[in-house]
């Protein structure tokens, strides 16, 4: 994953505890060169979309303008925010659970042979399994409620988070570990002061992959199991041929997912890798 994704995320600022600096950085990024190019790239994309919609590529393909109008209307009538609320609840629960459990188990697998032997095969098999095929099975176990959606999110997010945590800890710089030992760090200090910071880029890469897998999981669950939230909105508007509304729903969840991932990266840099700030 590219390391120079910035986000003007206020959430990151709140977590870093240095809101002033983070805001200044975000402001700097907005006027600075790279952000300008990114905006230009977005503008080009929208323009291409508009042109393709006007040709039109397919009668089921709305223009950018129509999609944006549909988006505004859906926000105004409250259907989009309501759908987001429904989709986000299992997503947030599932991703939080997966992050805590995944990082915990992953780090433990990296630190202890016993944990590695017990847990690693499970996650390796889970990661290899075609999850979309498993998701309908979840319904039989947990019905069509919140639990099955959370489970779908966890099934997709947990393996990649845990396996990245495990790899990250395994690949910690041995020279830094020897350094810590020679300066009399306790095992706990070694974990907290050396292993976690050194492993954090790979752990966070796993978290980002896990979050995007979680988005896949929750949307799949809504399309395949419980017709609610954004998944339902997409299905519904497709069934009545409201293509602009359908595209607006899809685009909004994509943008939301991208922004979430960018915020996550900012949080990582702020918390663990101060040396990468402003690069």
């Amino acid at each position: 994953m590219s390391s120079n994704v910035h986000s003007p995320g206020a959430a990151a600022a709140a977590v870093s505890g240095r809101p002033g600096r983070a805001l200044a950085r975000a402001a700097g990024a907005l006027v600075g060169g790279p952000m300008l190019w990114r905006l230009a790239s977005v503008a080009l994309f929208c323009l291409t979309w508009e042109v393709a919609g006007r040709i039109p590529v397919s009668y089921a393909f709305p223009t950018f303008g129509a999609t944006a109008a549909a988006f505004a209307a859906m926000v105004a009538d409250g259907s989009l925010p309501a759908a987001f609320a429904v989709t986000l609840l299992p997503l947030v629960i599932g991703v939080t659970l997966s992050a805590v459990l995944g990082v915990g188990i992953g780090v433990l697998m990296g630190l202890r042979r016993g944990a590695e032997w017990i847990a690693a095969p499970v996650f390796i098999v889970l990661q290899a399994a075609p999850m979309a095929a498993l998701i309908p099975l979840v319904t039989f176990v947990y019905g069509i409620g919140l639990t099955s959606k959370v489970l779908a999110v966890c099934l997709l997010a947990l393996p990649v988070i845990a396996l990245n945590g495990y790899k990250a800890v395994r690949n910690v710089n041995p020279s830094l570990l020897a350094m810590a030992r020679s300066f009399l760090a306790s095992p706990w200090q070694r974990v907290v002061r050396i292993i976690l910071p050194d492993a954090s880029p790979v752990i966070f890469a796993g978290l980002r992959l896990g979050v995007s897998a979680g988005f896949i999981g929750v949307i799949l669950a809504e399309l395949l199991i419980t017709p609610t939230g954004i998944g339902d909105l997409i299905t519904y508007h497709r069934s009545i041929a409201n293509y602009a509304e359908m595209y607006a729903s899809i685009a909004s969840i994509i943008v939301f997912s991208a922004v979430t991932l960018a915020v996550l990266q900012t949080v990582e840099v702020a918390l663990f890798r101060p040396e990468k700030k402003g690069t």
Binding site: A180, F183, R193, I194, P197
Partner: protein, 270 residues
């Protein structure tokens, strides 16, 4: 050869001279990695307050021996005594300077330098003050809040040295600290090391594969043979270091000693 007091290991029976006041005693250390024997029955006495060098070709086990003395590696056989007591791991009286610097890339210079003190539970204000002092000592004042990636190789190694000085250990163990820096930096660094050695009452155990560096810096040079490393002989170059660095490098004794070591190593390789 009059200037060089030497003890030939071959003639002394069991190599390793009895030094009056050894701070570190290496006794019969053997180290095997699987089937490779890296060190074989090594005895070395490191005199207190002196700079002792381990000199030998690459792969002869210098790093291995230094890490065993540091308590970072377990020996297959033999023991290491520090101040007369056998060691069982790293200890507060020893500090290591790593060949690859081993700095935390996510921490500033001052945090890196204060690391050892932090691990020992020294309160923040106190450890930062000590760290600041050591940073000045190695000539890095003004770089306290930089990150390692913003520094040159030579400066990074100074951070590693300051970190080792900060914990006020009696023995500094340096593993080819200058191998990753350019020649000018290396010479400057060597002079700083000589100055530090006079200012601080510390013992240095220093690894290098450079004959010139060993002769320039050392009170005693322990020559290790090719793998498996054994103590081949110990040389005590009595170089007069009162002159300028250039004068020392032109000094007769200095040049003779370099030449002599070079010849004995060549005999050895052939």
């Amino acid at each position: 050869m009059g200037a060089v007091r030497r003890i030939d290991a071959a003639r002394a029976g069991r190599p390793g001279p009895a030094t009056a006041d050894p701070i570190v005693q290496v006794r019969g250390i053997t180290k095997r990695y699987g089937s490779t024997e890296a060190l074989k029955d090594v005895d070395v006495d490191v005199p207190r307050g002196k700079l002792t060098t381990l000199l030998g070709p690459s792969g002869c086990g210098k790093t291995t021996l230094l890490k065993i003395v540091a308590g970072l590696l377990d020996a297959t056989a033999g023991e290491v005594l520090v101040n007369g007591k056998p060691i069982s791991g790293p200890g507060p009286e020893r500090a290591f300077v790593f060949q690859d610097f081993a700095l935390m890339p996510w921490a500033t210079v001052i945090t890196n330098v204060a690391f050892g003190l932090e691990m020992r539970g020294v309160p923040k204000a106190e450890r930062l003050e000590t760290a600041r002092h050591c940073i000045r000592e190695v000539g890095l004042a003004g770089f306290e809040d930089r990150y390692p990636h913003e520094l040159s190789g030579g400066m990074r190694q100074r951070v590693g040295l300051a970190r080792a000085l900060a914990v006020s250990a009696d023995v500094l163990l340096l593993d080819e600290p200058f191998s990753a820096v350019d020649e000018q930096t290396r010479r400057k660094f060597q002079e700083d090391l000589l100055r530090l050695r006079h200012q601080e009452n510390k013992t240095f155990l220093f690894v290098t594969h450079s004959i010139e560096e060993a002769v320039y810096l050392s009170d005693a040079i322990v020559m290790l043979s090719r793998r498996p490393g054994r103590v081949n002989r110990i040389i005590e170059p009595a170089i007069d270091r009162s002159g300028s660095p250039d004068e020392i490098r032109r000094d007769r004794h200095y040049l003779d000693t370099v030449e002599e070591i070079w010849h004995s190593l060549r005999d050895f390789v052939e």
